[in-house]
């Protein structure tokens, strides 16, 4: 599909195209800017360039649904394999990308087949509503990313809606220690609205960036098509998890409306950090007050509205009170108090 059509999708209507084009002199200029990633907002993936890593840049022994780089989590589905995560700068696909996420097998899995392994991002329901999944005006969308593995073979990627009502799986080949640019288009799904589809602040779309070992119950030979059921792995999936020290790198992860992969949308660090902070916020500069021996309350505002009321922990003080999407209260209640805050707030999916 043409860039003009992609732009039309982005602009929302043909009348908007002429308006924007007039502002930018010519449609060609606008299209060129779009092609170069100059128009923001097309990428539904948050932290696709792996620039934000609030939890740390070196995290060990990741298991089931444990977050590493912001918004990215590992899946083990209860299996015994584990990963180490590093945010790296020395192995990237091009100078366009400063960072990549490196996942190393730290504990080899002995239960592949019973349990699957992958790297995943869950997209919030609000952000996928525009895809119109299940309606007559549903949109196709295109996924692209860079991947590199120390093990040659066939790998999986795909998406599933909330509760795994429907899913889409594709496969691709990697050559050992070679970056590959992966892109595929997920066709519009117009059959019916999935029963548990979430288009608010819940699990909108489970996006398996890369499958690393298959779980039989989530394995399919039906590729490149939507199907009922919760599938995540191709039946040709390589068992990457069978030995330690194996590595896989990813970066430049993008999901955009339309049938054509366009250049990666680079966002400012501040923009990306704010998007991440809707799901996870870490501070070592907080200052919620409290006094031991009296009842006191210290409201602590969050930098952005969080997806849900967050769980939190802090390492330098003690406290417990109500948390909301916009702020929390620390209070002394006879058991807990806080003077300083070195805290994390977790509203991840």
């Amino acid at each position: 599909m043409s860039r003009a059509r992609d732009f039309a999708d982005l602009a929302g209507s043909s009348s908007n195209i002429s308006t924007v084009a007039a502002d930018s002199s010519t449609l060609d200029q606008v299209a060129t800017s779009y092609g170069a990633g100059g128009i923001t907002g097309k990428n539904l993936i948050i932290n696709g360039a792996l620039t934000v890593s609030q939890r740390g840049v070196d995290i060990n022994s990741l298991g089931e649904t444990v977050y590493s780089a912001d918004r990215f989590r590992t899946r083990t589905y209860g299996g015994n394999g584990r990963f180490d995560y590093d945010q790296v700068t020395d192995v990237v696909p091009s100078s366009t990308f400063k960072y990549a996420a490196k996942y190393t097998v730290s504990t080899a899995a002995t239960d592949v087949g019973s349990f699957g392994y992958s790297v995943q991002q869950v997209i919030e329901g609000h952000n996928i509503a525009q895809l119109r999944i299940g309606r007559s005006d549903a949109k196709p969308f295109t996924i692209s990313f860079w991947a590199r593995s120390s093990v040659s073979g066939t790998y999986s990627s795909g998406v599933a809606t909330n509760s795994g009502d429907i899913s889409f799986v594709t496969e691709f080949t990697l050559v050992a220690n070679t970056w590959e640019y992966i892109s595929y288009t997920v066709p519009a799904y117009t059959t019916s609205v999935p029963t548990n589809l979430n288009e608010t602040n819940g699990n909108g779309l489970f996006f398996t960036v890369i499958g690393l070992a298959s779980q039989t119950s989530k394995e399919t030979s039906t590729l490149d098509a939507w199907q009922s059921g919760n599938f995540a792995f191709s039946s040709n999936q390589t068992n990457f998890m069978s030995a330690t020290t194996r590595t896989v790198h990813i970066t430049g992860v993008q999901l955009e409306v339309g049938s054509q992969a366009t250049p990666f949308e680079h966002r400012s660090y501040g923009d990306e950090l704010a998007r991440c902070q809707r799901y996870f916020y870490k501070t070592d500069q907080g200052a919620a007050g409290g006094a031991q021996g009296v009842t006191s309350y210290g409201p602590f505002p969050f930098p952005v509205t969080m997806r849900a009321a967050p769980s939190w922990n802090n390492t330098t003080g003690r406290g417990a009170s109500s948390t909301y999407t916009t702020h929390c209260y620390f209070s002394y209640n006879g058991s807990y108090w806080v003077l300083g805050v070195d805290a994390t707030f977790d509203a991840e999916l």
Binding site: E64, S311, N333, S335
Partner: protein, 59 residues
């Protein structure tokens, strides 16, 4: 299969009203709001309903 390993769950109350659950989740002490949209709260309640976890009353 549990998504998270949760131990030592206990309600924390203010003025006699439960406000949060203090729990150790995957080795980290967390304070979890009573919000069904919160993934930790969802998992705590799933484990409670499955009979795998008991939340102690507030002190």
């Amino acid at each position: 299969m549990n998504e998270m390993t949760i131990t030592l769950a206990q309600y924390v109350a203010e003025d006699g009203v439960n406000q949060t659950i203090k729990a150790t989740i995957d080795g980290t002490e967390m304070f979890v709001p009573l919000d069904p949209a919160n993934r930790h709260y969802t998992e705590i309640m799933r484990q409670v309903e499955a009979g795998e976890l008991v939340i102690a009353e507030a002190e």
